[in-house]
Amino acid sequence: MRHCKKKILFLATFFIFLSGCTLTDIQSEIKLTSAKVNLSASNTVPSILNSNWQSVSLEDNWKKSHPDQNGYAWYKLNFDLKKPVNELWAIYIPHVNMNAEVWLNGRKLGSGGEMTGYVSRNWNQPQYFVIPQGFLTLNTNTLQIRLITLPNLGGALSAIHLGPHALLHNSYTQQYLWQVTSALASSILLFIALSLFFALWFYCRTEKFFLLATITCIAWFLNSFRFYIINIEIDPAIIFRLDQVLLLWVVITFTLTISYYFHNKILKPFKYLAGIALMTTLSAFLIPEKFVLIFAITIQILSLITAFSLNILALIYAYKSRLWVDIYLCFGMFVGAGLGMHDALGLSGAFTDTYFHMAQYGAILPISALGWIIILRFSRALRVSNNYNTELALKINEKHHELKQSFEKLNQLEKEKAISAEQERVMRDIHDGVGAHIVSTLAMLEVSPSLKKSDISAGLKDALDELRNLIDSLDSLTNDIPTILAILRERFESRFNKANISIIWKLQVPGNHPKLSPEFALHLIRILQEILINVIKHANATTISIAIEDMNNRSVIRILDNGSGFDENETHGHGIKNMKYRANLINVQLKLQSSKKGTEITLRF
């Protein structure tokens, strides 16, 4: 369905533009369509007697009527005025190629510009000359027009219209608008487009498409000058070659842009295109003059072939993608190519009455299609970068979350490890402490022959003591040295009482004491218990003093009794050895000083 629509549109546009030449009837009173032409290069009109005067009908296209010409021609036209003329009249020549000078009844009316040297290029300018009062006569008037053009390119003169200035002028301005102003407008639009595309590329460097589109616009923009730049201080022959080259570049850049659009990269064959374009450009300025026209026509044909192949590719692409932008692009390309073909046919003389160049319109649709594509791409690029940013932020969040999770997991594992390590420690202690005591008491029951009840009591009491040690060490409030000492005092109070030992308590050290781990606390409790039990059982003391001192930020426990002392070497049992071993374990310096007067034990933390 869509293809049918497109084809219809294309054909419709083509024919509309084809018939553009008959846009409106020219409001003239006299239309001169036949003349006599003399291909003389002389500055003055050749005499009537000159044998070279030929009859031609206007529009006179030199490529068809005078293929061998040298760039000059004189036209002679006669017309009759039936009635006298009261208002201002004018002459309107819709098309000259390239420049013309007009004389009426021997008096010069005007010209389109320079007739020598750098001839004015008026091939796209309708010519209009107001006839001053008194130039027209009743009955026969003679118009002489000198036409000048580039020798190899052929010239043209359209039919000549005469009529009242008031009416004729409208036709002229209308034609002027369609032919010249439009070209200028399209030039401006192209310039705006190229600036826009360039700006977008500047901010979106990654999109090669934008750069290609800019270059296409530049080529088209430069190409548009020839429609309205009349006077230029460069040899027209060179200008002509430049025009062809520019046309070629327009086609090539557009082809590159579109192929990039289709494939998202420039395919190899198209890269060769650029090479061909460069070579052609070079050769364009090296070709001798007589081959220039053929060269020009070749270029135009090749361009058209390229353009139409591109159109077909675009059609296939749009059919696949079914996007409106692609359909619009196809349509624009068809129109542009159609207009280009129209102009090429006109240049080669296919139409008799056409002097209406339309290529200047050819840029609008394709370039606007490019603009649409660029806008889509730009917004997509923005969206992608936005998405990328949010995606990145999301990813970072995710990673952060993952990291947190794994960190927490690690923490949890560490905690569990610590807890199970602690549980193991406690179990080991129960086994070695209470367990051992109970087992030995059991053994006592089974093994000892002379067993006293008090022995069993003592064994079980020791077991209870061990249990209390462990529990005290695990109590969270019992985690500094003064508290441990206080609790031990409570537990041993009655025993000291029974042994008639009075306690001197010197724990008035203020301030904070470091927190101890349960493991550390248990070792310390056992060390202290051993010390206190020794004092009760062996010391024969009457007082025991327990103090904590603070020396150089280190705590020192000092236990002093006034007993009979002991000799370390003579002790049986493992009590003192165990004490020292435990002190070592917890990095506490244990010092024993014993004499007949008493014993002092210091624990340095």
Binding site: L464, I471, T478, I487, S494, S502
Partner: protein, 234 residues
């Protein structure tokens, strides 16, 4: 609970007749042993024995013992209920909780309910007997662990002074905090008395006051919680 030599001025009640002890303990062997240990002291006698709450309440119906020793783990209820029962009835009975390991939960919850202290079940006759007698005679037993707990408890300033003017959360005075600090470091009431140049009686009274404040505090906090939860409306 603590015994030491050289225990000087105490508020001694005139020892007339032996003091009655209500023994609430579900383990029969332990109960028998305790009975034996207590009865070694001429100043004490077993007023009644109970193996569960019901029997204990029956015993309380019959009269007021001077001391109740209660094990918290009873088959038909918590010993705390019995302690509360005593204060409901307005009895003059001193309560001590029986424990093996004097774990905090047991002891403190008992004191919050109104008990005066704890007794270690495996203590010998002197320890158990003297503790009870001194308790009856007005001593306020306290231990380093209890003191540390009380310091921590009263220093938690989470709850603001309460809704209405009559109800206020009790705070410790400076002196009371000072005394508790010494106790936490292992000092005995008599030692604290001499350090602070107070009489033993004063120190004792402070400790009694501190215990009462604990009771009020825990009750007040319970009310506060109930109001917060919407159970109570003030």
């Amino acid at each position: 609970m603590r015994l030491f030599r050289g225990d000087i001025q105490m508020n001694k009640r005139q020892s007339h007749e032996p003091y009655s002890v209500l023994l609430v303990e579900d383990n029969s062997l332990t109960r028998a042993r305790l009975r034996q240990v207590i009865e070694l002291k001429p100043e004490l006698y077993i007023y009644a024995e109970a193996a569960n709450c019901k029997d204990a309440v029956n015993a309380l119906d019959k009269g007021q013992p001077s001391v109740m020793l209660v094990d918290l783990g009873l088959p038909d209820g918590n010993g705390i209920q019995l302690i509360t029962e005593i204060s409901h009835r307005g009895y003059d009975t001193e309560v001590m909780v029986l424990t093996v390991f004097r774990d905090e939960k047991t002891v403190i919850s008992a004191i919050e309910a109104g008990a005066s202290g704890y007794l270690l079940k495996d203590g010998d006759s002197d320890y158990i007997g003297d503790s009870i007698i001194r308790l009856i005679q007005g001593d306020s037993p306290i231990s380093a662990s209890i003191a540390r707990y009380l310091l921590k408890r009263f220093n938690q300033n989470e709850k603001p002074p309460l809704l209405s003017n009559n109800i206020a959360v009790p705070q410790l005075t400076k002196r009371e905090t000072e005394i508790l600090n010494y106790v936490a470091k292992g000092f005995k009431s008599t030692e604290i008395a001499s350090i602070l140049s107070l009489s033993y009686l004063t120190v004792n009274t402070h400790i009694k006051k501190i215990y009462k404040k604990l009771v009020v505090k825990s009750r007040t906090e319970a009310v506060f919680e109930a109001v917060k939860l919407g159970i109570l409306d003030l």
